[in-house]
């Protein structure tokens, strides 16, 4: 731990400012609360929003898990975990169940989260309407008026053009019947996990200076149509390592002749299953 910095890097005034923004976000689920995001010692785009949210939440007895693409050992997850070990002397874990705070980029763990846990998601573009309307002044008005028709038009146009809704990640969802939010670039496979989740889910966008939240047990409905209901990705084969059929898989290119292998993106989930004796067939060895 580096004593030259305050606990978890940020000074206490900054933490208080961020906690206020979090409280507001919790009070108005899905509403993007502007906050005075600070420059952090890692680049924008690397999770500065998530890092600031985590830094303002951590207590000395917290246990932190950091994942990127579902994995604990991707370079950025390692770097952020080390940052908090260095500046907060915090205990860390790869075990989803043991963690009190989980910071993640692009995935929600396969292991269901429980009460008392906090999931912190790193967000690049918090505004679900941004690619339909580039102006912040306009999108804020659209949220205020709950004017989300344009999003449905976009999804409809996908169906007209491709026969499917062509949004596969960062799939828009409506929280508690009011605000439409961008769940961050998680695959839509993870969207059902947002719904009625017993853990608090916080979203931090550093560069865009926004924080928003999903309260525990909130209804989160992914946008769809009656005749084109929301559906998630499914994989034709099980994980080649643990045999799991219910997890999101990464595709690994094995050689230059087109050999592919599919393995769990959630490394903790996969290694737990293997430790429990489950093999590539999914059967106990």
């Amino acid at each position: 731990m580096t004593p030259a910095y305050n606990f978890a890097y940020l000074n206490e005034q900054t933490k208080r400012m961020i906690r206020r923004a979090i409280l507001k976000a919790v009070a108005v689920p899905g509403y993007q609360v502007p906050f005075a995001s600070r420059e952090m010692p890692m680049p924008y785009g690397w999770g500065t929003g998530g890092v600031q949210v985590t830094a303002s939440l951590l207590k000395p007895d917290d246990v932190l898990k950091v994942i990127d693409q579902g994995a604990d050992d991707t370079t950025n997850a390692v770097s952020i975990r080390k940052f908090f070990v260095r500046t907060a002397g915090i205990a860390t874990t790869e075990d989803t169940r043991r963690a009190t705070v989980i910071q993640t980029r692009h995935r929600i763990p396969e292991t269901p989260l429980g009460e008392g846990q906090i999931l912190v998601l790193q967000v690049p573009i918090p505004e679900p309407l941004r690619f339909l309307e580039p102006r912040e002044t306009e999108t804020r008005k659209m949220h205020a008026l709950a004017e989300y028709g344009v999003m449905h038009v976009k999804l409809y146009e996908d169906i007209a053009r491709f026969g499917h809704i062509a949004t596969t990640y960062a799939y828009p969802a409506r929280v508690a019947g009011r605000y439409v939010l961008d769940p961050s670039p998680i695959p839509k496979f993870d969207n059902p996990k947002l719904d009625r989740c017993p853990a608090l889910q916080l979203f931090g966008a550093g560069r865009e200076k926004r924080i928003y939240a999903i309260l525990p047990h909130s209804r989160v409905v992914s946008l769809d149509f009656e005749d084109h209901p929301f559906s998630v990705q499914h994989f034709d084969q099980p994980c080649a390592l643990c045999g799991g059929r219910d997890s999101f898989l990464d595709e690994i290119i094995m050689d230059d002749r087109g050999t592919r292998m599919f393995v769990c993106s959630d490394t903790d989930h996969c290694s737990k299953r293997r430790a429990a004796g489950l093999g590539s067939s999914g059967e106990r060895r």
Binding site: P34, G45, D73, R207
Partner: protein, 360 residues
Amino acid sequence: MYVAVKGGERAIEAAHKLLAEDRRGDPKVPAVTVEQIAEQLTLAVDRVMAEGSLYDPALAALAVKQSRGDLIEAIFLIRAARTTLPRFGYSAPLDTARMAVRRRVSATFKDIPGGQILGATFDYSHRLIDFALAGNSPPERAATSSETLDTSLPRVLSLLGAEGLIEEPQQGDGEPGDLTTAPLDFPADRDLRLQMLARGDEGFLLALAYSTQRGYGRTHPFAGEIRFGEATVLFTPEELGFEIAIGTIAVTECEMVNQFVGSPETPPQFTRGYGLVFGQLERKAMAMALVDRALRADEFGEERTAPAQDEEFVLSHADNVQATGFVEHLKLPHYVDFQAELELLRRLRAERKATPEDSA
């Protein structure tokens, strides 16, 4: 057989060590010192201070060394250091009329009270590679005059103002906004716009300023005055209750004279664009002044048609630390999202194959 990739942590550590080695370069060549950078790469240091929003030449020089001369990286280092510093308050507005001037030129009048002062400039040099610089010979001494400069040099635009030919400078009341401590909201007031421009990317502002000269939001600019020198910073500490000088900072100020406006009520007047940056960054100060004026389109009832007039566009994209972060983050893993896209694309292609063309 594939096993889940491990060892990210060790790879990162090794990469950092390799970076330190590469930064040092050939160990037979003496290491560059921070003092050398501060003294001899002054304009790089100035840019890092300006866009880093922190006046600390020694720290900026160290950042230039640490970043291997990548100035945006150095600016980023300074910004991150700035986050950890406490804020004491706001200084009084700088009195640049009383600054110790090292250079001061006007393009609008041949002679001005106090005179044109060329100072150290590249402007009239022939851009021929000076092979003598590869050696270590000391420069010839410049001639000095026994005359001293006036302690106060009136601003050229004030001289125009005395005749009512140019709009009065705007007077702000109360504390200026600070976009580093409060989130930026649109429409933004001019104080916030100027703050963003002062710390904005030089290249971005240069291109925007250039675009106004080429007709994308034309403002008919004249460089009323550009001055560079040291200005005294005055500050009132709460515990003292009176103003004290806490030091001097080198700044470049640019005041542009722009196309005139008038109305049935007020006779026509020139308008202003303003630029002020740390250090000797004339290109940046001038670009800032041009963009500042372009962004004032609404004030003068000008139609906003060009990028340089579009406040949300300019202010949202001027920060190079934000820009470089988001562009370069594409290097981070995106396996999961890419997999999600692959799955859909394969499905769409499979469906197309299964359905003959004519039935589609």
